[in-house]
Point group: C2
Chain length 414, copies 2
Amino acid sequence: MTYPFLSGLRVVESSAFIAAPLAGLALAQHGADVIRVDMIGGGIDYARMPRMPHPQGRGRSLYWTALNKGKRSIAIDLRRPEGRELVQQLATAPGPDAGVLLTNIGTPWLAHEVLAARRADVITCTIQGNADGSTALDYTVHCATGYPAITGGGSLQRPVNQVLPAWDIACAWQAALAIAAALRARERSGRGAQLQLALSDVAFTTLSHVGVLAEAELLHQDRPSIGNHLYGAFGRDFGTADGARIMVAAISINQWKALVATCAIAEPIAALERRLGLDFSDEAQRFEAREEIAALVEPWFAERTRKEAEAALEANKACWGRYDLPTGLLAHDARVSAANPVFERIATPGIGTHLSAGAAVRASGWEREPTPGAPLLGTHTDEVLHEVLGLDSGAIGRLHDARVVAGAQEDPTA
Amino acid sequence: MTYPFLSGLRVVESSAFIAAPLAGLALAQHGADVIRVDMIGGGIDYARMPRMPHPQGRGRSLYWTALNKGKRSIAIDLRRPEGRELVQQLATAPGPDAGVLLTNIGTPWLAHEVLAARRADVITCTIQGNADGSTALDYTVHCATGYPAITGGGSLQRPVNQVLPAWDIACAWQAALAIAAALRARERSGRGAQLQLALSDVAFTTLSHVGVLAEAELLHQDRPSIGNHLYGAFGRDFGTADGARIMVAAISINQWKALVATCAIAEPIAALERRLGLDFSDEAQRFEAREEIAALVEPWFAERTRKEAEAALEANKACWGRYDLPTGLLAHDARVSAANPVFERIATPGIGTHLSAGAAVRASGWEREPTPGAPLLGTHTDEVLHEVLGLDSGAIGRLHDARVVAGAQEDPTA
């Protein structure tokens, strides 16, 4: 589902992998016309796993199609000067709502200066690994943050990687915000912007924003490795009699009271407070006694089935969640279904009809448009060349004949 | 460091914890005037760990001050009608760049309808746990995504929680983008917006955007639990002779060639390809043979010191990163220092001078302002009441006398 907040805005995206394509998706789902430019036959990420089954291994990528739904696709031979010229023209086409390039491909022919020579107020946003231009990706940035050394009870010698590409995701939304903010500034000042966003800067600035860096500098300490406990209050996963795991959190005082009420452990908790000389109405003191508290909570879960435990947690308005898998979510969690208005069923060429998410934000009263499935490469080649660059069918035909551009029939998965 | 992209914009933030405050910080670091409203004496998150050492335990929170730098603070008794009236007036003050509320406090007196009755085109953005209003936080949402069951070699029965509050972070940037996009729409259409963003929707829509949901629905499979390996290509951590761990990734073909060259394993790799009947120029086939490839890479790291390994990786332009801790980053990684222009040294009252991050984005040619440290609660009470609501010193004095508002001297950490 797409909101019309950014309708009229045109963004040219030349990208690969997650961060830049997800930034483009974010803009598209807020109403922008995002034109993804790809090499004829597909870029480096076009066949990334998982793929649809196919006898010759040419099934479409569920990864690529997920990140590129709701966009238009133009296929261009990016190795040739004529092809590069077309991309430069698209990115610098006139109009107050055009002239925006989103890329993570650090190539000289898409450099800001090159485009600014064609359109002085162009906005370019280039996503990088490190700000010096060296390579980095989610895993090689995350390892430096210290988190793997405190995940799953790990240590610096036995680190545990994070599976969610959280830095790519944070980078994507930051890029989209920076573009939206720079657009506002361009409307008011007439100035364009050369935006550069490094994945490592996204990670390390976040360490500052959540207080981890100040803690390291001022208190000379790194966060402790505490397994599945949450930091700074009380929360952990517990196992039920029938083998399910449930996460409970008691950060606010109300959440704490709800947990104590659910497990009916007010008396042993009061006794524990007296024995330890602590006051569990202070979240930091709950954190200090987390192992002792967990020992009081554990039997309650172990003696109950998942259903029984969940019903009691719900009745007491505790803060909890069930550990699940994507197949399980689809089978029984209404939050991940077309009954949730942020989801919709869409049709993706080469893949079929499936559940797909729009923007997570809900905007009451604003009309929404359904999201088109990710196009085959080059599906919009002709219409983009005509609409944006004003080329007539003769000129477009000559570009096809010279194999500078291609249409959907040249998609390798078509 | 703050860019002036959103300068002039005023956002009233009534919030707690991470997602909403980080959204406010994002807007502030792009130039908005963000006025954080807090209960006199501080809200539920004001004392969150870690705190500065203090004999009576009243040290300032490094968590709160990190998330609330660069904002103005007004302290109001939010339990009283006169206090609530002030917040409603602040959030609905006139002007094209005002009339924006950011909150994660689902209270009736800040409901969109209530504010829209005062200013029809108000933009409110309310962050929730679940969209039905029920409680959820990063941990109780993350457990449902399936990621804990595949982190650190975990399973649904032995899940591994994620320490980084990745969903809060993603939610924050999405809220900031939604506000920026809705502002653009308001400028063009005159319409306000009631934005609602649920943490669980942020997580589950992301599962769709990275292809995980389509995989579950169409291929009936969940991602495998593969320890520290990355999915879909080759990458893992390796130990050096002197006990360091290094993450290497070979997603692109160039990254793969660089790793093979670094470890000088072209011949055994070719032999492995022949033996398994695989072609490692295809990333999916590298993934298939990840254990066998890792066995060839492992000895190379084990025989070298960290320095030797890093020098060789660097010389071959491999994609790698060192596992580190925040204290280590500050000690020896120039990316986390004032030499990196996205960082600056700031002064925070009650804490002192320390390294702090601005926006991660760099905008060449746009002037930047230093970020003020997080204010004591109520530091800007009088100036905000005067500037925004036009109250004179007599009226402001009466609000103080009636204890409806307070200044910085009432901050419990002052």
